[in-house]
């Protein structure tokens, strides 16, 4: 086997090897991602229960699992879509930091209300507090175990 062939086969095997290296890297990332995803559901920190929803979306009685950040608004890209004429496209954001919940109003036209009081920027929320966006009233609850 002459030298040229030796190098040629080395290159060919290198090509195959690099494809496998790529696959290995990708699979490593996939697995890490999947493991992280598997851990998430257990850490769900809270729920939002819809008390009243004249518009129908979200349906009254519906319960939303909340994540670390949950966006609310009329725009379909929000995690919780509130299809109410008095809700803005991007109305508010619920965040969970440390051990506390906060709601931030995103300069919405008609404002967000916690327990009847208008939210100015960011306000804390606790379990049992009511959040009103437009005509939709929701209550923050603990997560189901």
């Amino acid at each position: 086997m002459d030298g040229f062939l030796l190098v040629l086969w080395a290159v060919r095997l290198l090509f195959l090897g690099l494809i496998y290296l790529f696959l290995a890297r990708v699979i490593r990332v996939l697995l890490r991602d999947l493991r992280a995803a598997a851990r998430e559901p257990a850490d769900r920190p809270g729920r939002l229960i819809v008390l009243e929803s004249p518009g129908g979306e979200p349906t009254a009685g519906q319960s939303f699992g909340l994540d670390v950040i949950t966006s609310l608004g009329r725009d379909v890209n929000n995690a919780i879509v509130i299809d109410d004429p008095f809700a803005s496209a991007d109305h508010a954001v619920l965040t969970y930091r440390g051990r506390d919940w906060f709601v931030e109003d995103l300069a919405s036209k008609n404002g967000s209300y916690v327990n009847g009081r208008r939210v100015d920027g960011v306000a804390p929320m606790g379990f049992g507090d009511e959040l009103q966006i437009g005509q939709v009233r929701m209550r923050l609850e603990r997560a189901l175990r």
Binding site: V11, L16, Y20, I27, L30, D75, T95, R97, R99, F102
Partner: protein, 477 residues
């Protein structure tokens, strides 16, 4: 936005629909693209050395244009700043690169197309389509922010799809006894490729809307519990129309693809195995009937069962493909060194459209084939993962459906190459030659990217022991 009483609370930045552009680095994607570039370069050098006996990139121009486009797409995504999936693009890029190398390696006169005066041959045409596909995928991934246009108008989409099919049936040009191609001036394409995306959009919309009903309410037919018929009916009708037209046009691969995706989405949405079993049984009955009625289907099945019965006649294509895998062995014979020519042509007919996997099997070996299958599996997994993480049912079903469209299609044609299933005319996504196939799959990838946007960054996890300053209750105005 924020007013006085807040101290030490960091407001998370929220992305807007058409807000300010916030470039975000995508290191993982960059590293993976780097690996892709290295691998493709090695492949090109091996091809060049095999053909010219000198070490150097084979068709360096083509490869560099392709790599340049890849990094441009990457740059585009970085600038757009969306937190979309970083694995999809490199994986698809690897598949596309392998396709480019394969098209460079095959005899260039398999395809010649004249675009406005310049004549392009196989590798160049494929490169052009790959670039278009990249553009489409990246653009969709950057621009598509809302899915309302898909979600709201599902019946319109369905109508468009059926309309496209009818158009092709009536006005299409015949190729090999099948009316699959529509010609518009210098461009010709296969609308059935786009139809698969439209079908998934319709199914995702319909199933997500009626999911609860399909899961919870039943009509009983004897011992079988079915979802309420009025709700099942439009779906079955839509599917039957598509299937019927496709079968009339003798595009069996597409029929198999639609059917597989339909059943899978039905299962994902409803979780009812009974539906899948019924569907499968219906399919077997249907194919038995069709095998009896239609000669060409029976021939296909005969060839599938024993292609060696007529190795020089009807079974020629499949036999040559299997021989290619045999010659390749574990490591393959090397890019460019396989496919010994018979009468100056590659031994496998239609190798650039129907049998690229066999050619790759001979040149890259079983290890190469397994790696390529792995790449498809990665794409499917990413799609499924995007679906599982999606914000609502429609997006979830859409992502799952799109992922399956690529995965099931790859499975069908790979199985045809390997005699696991009868041979059909579908293309191997991203690897087969064909502009419409590349574009349709690019739409799929683009939509998947758009759906994978993770939105806002989560705030950093609280450090143990730190004190958060309590925020006062909102004061009355």
């Amino acid at each position: 936005m924020t007013s006085g009483a807040m101290h030490g609370v960091r407001t998370p930045a929220l992305h807007r629909t058409f807000g300010p552009i916030r470039p975000r680095p995508r290191w993982l994607e960059l590293r993976l693209l780097g690996l892709v570039a290295l691998a493709l370069a090695a492949g090109s050098v091996s091809l060049g050395a095999t053909v010219t006996r000198r070490f150097g990139l084979y068709d360096a121009e083509g490869l560099l244009i392709y790599l340049g486009a890849l990094f441009a797409a990457h740059a585009g995504q970085v600038l757009a700043g969306r937190r979309t999936d970083q694995i999809l693009l490199p994986t698809v890029a690897m598949l596309g690169g392998i396709s480019l190398l394969l098209m460079q390696r095959l005899p260039q006169d398999l395809v010649t197309q004249t675009f406005f005066g310049t004549t392009l041959d196989l590798a160049q045409v494929q490169l052009v389509w790959l670039l278009c596909a990249l553009t489409v995928a990246t653009t969709l991934g950057i621009v598509v922010r809302s899915d309302r246009w898909l979600r709201r108008y599902k019946y319109t989409w369905a109508a468009v799809g059926v309309g496209l099919l009818l158009l092709t049936f009536v006005f299409g040009t015949e190729v090999n006894g099948q009316r699959l191609t529509l010609q518009l001036g210098p461009l010709s394409g296969q609308p059935t490729e786009l139809l698969k995306v439209i079908l998934v959009v319709f199914l995702a919309g319909y199933l997500s809307e009626n999911r609860a009903l399909l899961v919870e309410q039943d009509t009983r037919i004897g011992p079988i519990r079915l979802p309420p018929l009025p709700y099942l009916a439009p779906m079955v009708a839509m599917w039957a129309i598509a299937l019927g037209i496709v079968v009339i046009q003798r595009d069996l691969g597409a029929a198999l693809l639609f059917f597989g995706v339909f059943l899978a989405l039905l299962y994902v949405a409803t979780g009812r195995v009974s539906l899948v079993i019924i569907g499968f049984v219906l399919f077997l009955l249907g194919s038995a009937v069709m095998a009896v009625l239609f000669d060409h289907i029976r021939t296909r099945i005969d060839i599938w069962i024993d292609p060696f019965a007529d190795p020089l006649g009807s079974g020629f294509q499949v036999v040559q493909a299997l021989h290619a895998f045999a010659r390749g062995g574990l490591l393959g014979v090397g890019l460019g060194a396989g496919l010994p020519e018979i009468a100056g042509r590659p031994p496998i007919p239609e190798v650039h459209t129907d049998f690229p996997l066999a050619a790759l099997g001979e040149e890259l070996g079983i290890l190469g084939v397994v790696a390529i299958l792995g790449l498809y599996l990665v794409v499917v997994e990413r799609g499924l993962r995007i679906g599982a993480a999606a914000a609502d049912d429609f997006r979830a079903l859409l992502a799952v459906g799109l992922a399956l469209v690529i995965g099931v299609q790859a499975f069908i044609i790979a199985a045809g190459n390997l005699k696991v299933l009868p041979l059909t005319g579908v293309t191997l996504p991203f690897i087969s030659y064909g502009g419409s196939s590349l574009l349709a799959n690019a739409v799929v990838v683009g939509l998947l990217l758009a759906l994978s946007d993770k939105g806002v960054e989560p705030p950093p996890p609280p450090r143990v022991g730190s004190r958060w300053r309590r925020v006062g209750r909102p004061r009355a105005d």
